[in-house]
């Protein structure tokens, strides 16, 4: 029990961050973290993984993916990749700087598989081996998925504003 507190409590800010990265809505993200912590407490004594971090992240990851699936089903099964554009216009002077809001809007357009690998590796600093455990995929798949996810994100961020912000500029014109 003390063991549990000692090892899991320090992870909570990171768990909230990962959930928020996958599920944008703050309330839903915390619901998932709460659900995750309940499971962690319940299953702590029978975890068969000497690395509590990847074990806890795996639970959180599965819960978040379930939630995303459930939402997609409710929304009439629109695949995440085809969801409507939400990226705002970029002015040409921002060529090299990627801003927080922009990158968050951009990762939302990635399939959940790509989003999770980027968040686990780039934000949560998990090793490739830990990420493989969390996602339950082989190490080779971690590497290829990571490469594809980064390339896809680059394509989204570097696509010309005329393509990424038609909806936005239309609204501004009307106003």
């Amino acid at each position: 029990m003390n063991d549990l507190l000692l090892q899991v409590e320090p992870m909570i800010p990171a768990l909230r961050r990962y959930a928020r990265g996958l599920v944008r809505d703050a309330e839903s993200a915390d619901d998932i973290v709460q659900d995750c912590l309940e499971r962690v407490v319940l299953n702590w004594s029978r975890r068969h993984d000497d690395n509590p971090r990847s074990w806890v992240f795996a639970i959180l990851h599965n819960l978040a993916i379930n939630k995303l699936r459930q939402d997609a089903r409710r929304a009439g099964s629109v695949p995440i990749e085809d969801a409507p554009e939400t990226v705002g216009a970029r002015s040409p002077t921002q060529e090299d700087a990627i801003y927080g809001q922009e990158v968050m809007a951009a990762i939302e357009r990635l399939p959940p598989d790509y989003r999770s690998i980027l968040l686990l590796v780039s934000v949560e600093d998990l090793s490739y081996a830990e990420a493989a455990k969390v996602l339950e995929i082989p190490l080779g798949t971690v590497m290829s998925r990571l490469a594809r996810a980064r390339e896809r994100l680059r394509a989204i961020l570097e696509s010309p504003p005329s393509q990424t912000s038609t909806a936005g500029s239309y609204i501004r014109r009307v106003k």
């Binding site: 909230r16 912590l37 029978r46 599965n62 459930q70 968040l119 780039s122 980064r150 680059r154």
Partner: protein
């Protein structure tokens, strides 16, 4: 001494700063000579930095009180649910939720009409409805006592075996009555320690009273279905067919 060719994996590891000193230097030299790759690497690095800073505020927020681990642990303590669930899940089937293997099941696909095919479809719909449910996935909780067994028998209208999947790492959560076009069905729901769920639907069969196991698939829900002595069984979940198959074999060996 010639150096090993620089791979895409090296570039990713370079971005993440996890190469050893010498390999890191090799990649740096490579990037000097390859502006296209250098551009990509620099873009990947700024992505990572932007993601980190965008989400940094979340990690700095005070943790909401409902996420207080001590409180959560205290709330669960009196129930003692953990004690009865010490499962020897040694022979763990590694589960990849949602992972879709390259296993083409085309030739096994069924056109749902009736019999086992329609049972599989009902099971898949049941999974889609109740497996994501966090509030009340099951109607009757499995408590290891007779009450659950009686509920199961009453639902199906005859004595049924409730498969024990703990060997595969899944514990029985409970069950629910599911209406089908062929009468009430018994849904059993199982869960592993990572929260991945499986559903097994059982009901009496008019057509296909005895039928060997077949694979079925609707959307990303996979299933294995069979019938024996007039009862049909369909085990479904978001697992690769091969993994689910070995769990289905565990279930079949018991019924």
């Amino acid at each position: 001494m010639s150096i090993r060719p620089i791979t895409e994996d090296d570039l990713q590891a370079y971005v993440d700063g996890v190469l050893d000193h010498e390999r890191h230097r090799n990649v740096s030299e490579y990037l000097l000579a390859n502006p296209e790759a250098a551009k990509r690497v620099s873009s990947y690095r700024s992505q990572a930095a932007a993601l980190r800073s965008a989400l940094e505020t979340v990690a700095r927020e005070p943790v909401p009180s409902r996420l207080n681990l001590t409180t959560i642990a205290a709330a669960q303590a009196p129930g003692g649910r953990t004690g009865s669930l010490r499962l020897a899940a040694a022979a763990v089937v590694l589960l990849a939720v949602g992972a879709t293997g390259g296993w083409s099941m085309r030739s096994y696909m069924l056109t749902p009409t009736e019999g086992v095919a329609s049972l599989a479809q009902e099971a898949s719909a049941t999974y889609g409805t109740f497996a994501p449910d966090r509030l009340r996935p099951v109607e009757v909780r499995a408590d290891g006592g007779d009450a659950f067994r009686q509920f199961a028998d009453a639902t199906v209208g005859r004595p049924v075996t409730i498969p024990d999947l703990s060997r595969a790492g899944y514990r029985l959560m409970g069950g629910r009555v599911v209406p089908t076009a062929h009468g009430p069905g018994l849904m059993l729901m199982y869960e592993d320690d990572k929260g991945s769920r499986l559903v097994m639907l059982t009901r009496p069969m008019a057509v296909d009273q005895d039928k060997p196991m077949v694979a079925t698939e609707t959307a990303d829900v996979k299933g294995w279905s069979w019938a024996k002595n007039g009862l049909g069984y369909s085990l479904v979940g978001s697992l690769p067919h091969a993994d689910l198959h070995s769990i289905a074999n565990v279930a079949r060996s018991q019924v």
